[in-house]
């Protein structure tokens, strides 16, 4: 399992591995928003949590179609399916590798980009906490979407359509935590719901992903 994780990380950091794609997209979105909205710092401060969360979500979505498709194309997925590793742990590791290369950099970049959007000071810690809790769910749900569309050529469009509605609860509660945090309100309720969504996705979805992958490998 560790070998698979290390390989995926190594592949992501080598040339053409796609590390930084999500981060660059996140950067572009948050840098561009002040230009399009205009120099109204109060308005920016109000929309900052939502924009940051939406940017992070779209950045995650952008990198999903490589998640399993590359292993499918070069035949590694067939070979992994006949290896001693159960497919459930294979997809979990793949999701973890995706989170480390996409979700974690977003979490770390978010406070810096929050400055660009004039995010209120008390909002920073809750923005980071909400992203830290929410991005694992994005990776795990995304892996499920990638498993559903793995056999399709150019399945990215279909995958986005399938994954988008599944991302909505995470987005709602994640940006609600960040918004309440920024406005100095109590964050407990959306925070618990967000953590619940992440915990449930991590616990249940790998089984669903492995099941659809088995069907797609036939």
């Amino acid at each position: 399992m560790i070998a698979l994780l290390l390989r995926d990380l190594k592949l992501a950091f080598r040339a053409g591995g796609g590390f930084g794609l999500g981060l660059a997209f996140f950067l572009i979105v948050t840098v561009m928003v002040p230009f399009s909205v205009g120099p109204q710092s109060e308005l920016l401060a109000r929309i900052a949590p939502g924009v940051l969360w939406l940017g992070a979500l779209l950045a995650c979505l952008l990198s999903l179609d490589r998640l399993l498709a590359l292993d499918w194309e070069d035949g590694s997925l067939d070979l992994l399916a006949t290896a001693p590793l159960p497919l459930e742990s294979t997809v979990s590791i793949k999701a973890l590798a995706h989170w480390i290369t996409t979700g974690l950099p977003l979490v770390m970049a978010a406070p810096v980009l929050g400055v660009l959007l004039n995010l209120p000071v008390q909002g920073f810690q809750w923005l980071v906490v909400s992203l830290l809790l929410g991005t694992p769910a994005l990776s795990v749900i995304g892996t499920f979407g990638a498993a559903l569309t793995v056999g399709l050529k150019r399945g990215g469009l279909l995958m986005s359509l399938l994954v988008m509605p599944l991302y909505v609860p995470t987005l709602i509660f994640g940006s609600e935590v960040a918004r309440r945090g920024a406005e100095g309100m109590a964050v407990q309720t959306p925070l618990l719901l967000l953590a619940g969504i992440s915990a449930a996705s991590i616990a249940l979805l790998p089984f669903a992903s492995a099941a659809v992958l088995r069907v797609n490998l036939r």
Binding site: I2, A3, L4, R7, K10, L11, R14, A15, G16, G17, E73, D74, G75, S76, D78, L79, L80, A81, T82, A83, P84, L85, L217, R218
Partner: protein, 204 residues
């Protein structure tokens, strides 16, 4: 561990291609599958490897015993030859890739990126993966594609050594590997088209 296949029927894309296949593969033996293109050799091998369920019949003794080599080698172009092999070795819970590198004459290429290899060299690397798995039953689909004569001989030696250690091999190939092996012609097991027995059937 004998691999036993009983009354197996397999389907590709929902259409039955082979039916009524039975064979047994004892340790130390090799079985060569022959048959024209499209007859269902790959489908049969994928079924035996457990990648797809059979329509009817049973495959026994394959669970956690097989190493499968498909048309594509499952190599990562940005990893080196050694890194690719080490990865597969550790997935199968083993270490030591030297024997595999020696067996397929890959020592000189060990630090080359797999993406920079020729087709034949990639194939050799794909086949050497079988050596690091440590699994007793090798299931191989057209293993000699893009190999030259020397490499085919190298491959045949590797299979012979594997059989000598009590392993077994199920190989779909068109060329003569010079192995002492049983040959199974799959042509006669071609599935008959399903009977059209109702009104709708004529339109399917």
């Amino acid at each position: 561990m004998t691999l036993t296949v009983t009354d197996l029927s397999v389907a590709r894309g929902g259409i039955p291609v082979l039916e009524g296949l039975s064979f047994a593969l004892a340790p130390g033996r090799a079985l060569i599958l022959r048959g024209p293109n499209g007859i269902g050799k790959t489908t049969l091998l994928r079924t035996v490897a457990g990648l797809q369920p059979p329509l009817t019949g049973q495959v026994e003794g394959a669970e956690d015993q097989i190493a499968y080599a498909a048309h594509s080698d499952g190599l990562k172009p940005t990893l080196t030859v050694a890194e690719n092999l080490i990865f597969w070795a550790s997935v199968f819970g083993r270490n030591g890739i030297e024997q595999a590198l020696d067996g397929f004459d890959l020592q000189a290429l060990r630090d080359r990126q797999a993406g920079a290899l020729s087709a034949g060299q990639k194939r050799r690397l794909g086949l050497s993966r079988m050596l690091v798995t440590g699994r007793p039953v090798w299931i191989m689909d057209e293993p000699t594609v893009s190999l030259d004569k020397t490499s085919v001989a190298m491959f045949a030696d590797a299979v012979r050594a594997h059989l000598g250690q009590g392993g077994s091999a199920l190989i779909a190939t068109h060329i003569d590997l010079g192995l002492e092996a049983d040959v199974l012609e799959v042509g006669p097991y071609k599935a008959k088209p399903p009977e059209i027995d109702d009104f709708d059937g004529g339109f399917l």
